[in-house]
């Protein structure tokens, strides 16, 4: 009985510590990539930083709930489309931010001297991502 409680106690500590580390890491990652500042800049909504912070936290907790739950709601497929688009935009921003962080474009433009065509190269990456993703879901995994 007592050892049972002990094990539960250890589990709580391990789970909580793991969550703490992952949560801190996740926020650090988002901050490093600068997606939130970018969105704030695009929408000119500096006043709502606290709301966005809360969004990230609530969203993470909601995602955690979804990963461990077994419930099911009978929603129409329209919800899936909205969900998919939002997921895509977020991931697209992540991918764009990563490309930026590793400095691919500045170096490319310097090396081959195509400062004025850099936007075309960027579109190559955009279409590459779209095509790769569509190809994977419609042919590759089937």
């Amino acid at each position: 009985m007592i050892s049972n409680f002990l094990i539960i106690g250890v589990e709580i500590v391990v789970g909580f510590a793991g969550g703490l580390a992952v949560g801190a890491g996740f926020v650090a990652f988002l901050t490093l990539l600068g997606i939130i500042p970018r969105l704030i800049q695009l929408t000119r909504s500096e006043a709502y930083i606290k709301v966005y912070t809360a969004c990230i936290i609530i969203g993470s907790i909601f995602g955690t709930f979804l990963s461990f739950t077994n419930v099911t709601w009978n929603h129409p497929e329209l919800l899936l489309i909205i969900w998919g688009v939002l997921h895509g935009i977020f991931n697209g921003m992540l991918a764009a931010a990563l490309t930026e962080v590793i400095n691919v474009f500045p170096i490319l433009s310097k090396r081959i001297g195509i400062d004025d065509k850099i936007v075309w190269l960027f579109m190559a990456i955009v279409f590459g991502k779209i095509t790769g993703s569509l190809f994977q879901w419609t042919f590759f995994v089937r």
């Binding site: 990963s67 709601w73 489309i81 935009i89 697209g92 764009a96 930026e100 400095n103 474009f105």
Partner: protein, 201 residues
């Protein structure tokens, strides 16, 4: 009384061939002195083959040189302390073949990395579970999530970089432009440190 000459170095100067650079090529000056034109025409530095393609001219050299030639003026430096002279003898335009090759490289690279990323994070499984949670139906290929997701992926990147081909979404500089600017700034900083002869001694 000495006449004051305000000297502002140009940050970057592009030079097509090896020739002599006058003060006017390297800096802006402002003065009440009648010698202004004479000052502007003073040759400062002769670019030669051994300079290869970058020379850094320190303002100290100019001040030193002018003090010797015009003992009656006093020079005040405003703005950047040196000028970076770049010599590109052949201003080449990138060939369309090269650009196409890079385009293809980036295209395939981007497609492959996103596919590997999706496998790495088991996105298919997550989407299957999500499909079940939301609609209550099991579906091995939840295309209703996956296709909008794929299109959104591109939209997100465009939003982040503020560019749709040549059209800008708003006037703010995009992170890409800021990044290129920073990169150039860092290169200049490195150059002004290591190519500046005054630092070498």
């Amino acid at each position: 009384m000495k006449e004051i000459v305000y000297l502002r170095m140009k940050k970057n100067v592009e030079q097509q061939k090896y020739e002599s650079l006058t003060l006017k090529d390297l800096a802006f000056i402002s003065t009440t002195s009648l010698q202004k034109e004479e000052l502007e025409k003073t040759p400062i530095y002769r670019v030669s083959k051994k300079d290869k393609n970058i020379v850094v001219i320190d303002s100290f050299l100019i001040i030193d040189h002018l003090n010797r030639l015009f003992p009656n003026i006093e020079i005040q430096l405003v703005g950047p302390p040196h000028t970076v002279v770049r010599i590109n003898r052949t201003k080449k335009n990138a060939s369309i073949l090269l650009v196409s090759a890079v385009w293809l490289l980036l295209f395939i690279g981007a497609a492959m990395t996103i596919m590997n990323f999706h496998y790495d994070v088991s996105m298919q499984e997550v989407q299957q579970k999500l499909h079940y949670i939301l609609t209550g139906k099991e579906e091995e290929f939840p295309l209703w999530i996956q296709i909008p997701y794929s299109l959104g992926l591109g939209l997100g990147m465009v939003l982040f970089f503020n560019h749709w081909f040549k059209k800008r979404i708003n006037e703010e500089p995009s992170p890409l432009e800021v990044e290129i600017f920073n990169y150039q700034q860092n290169l200049d900083q490195y150059l002004t440190h290591y190519e500046n002869r005054i630092n070498d001694k």
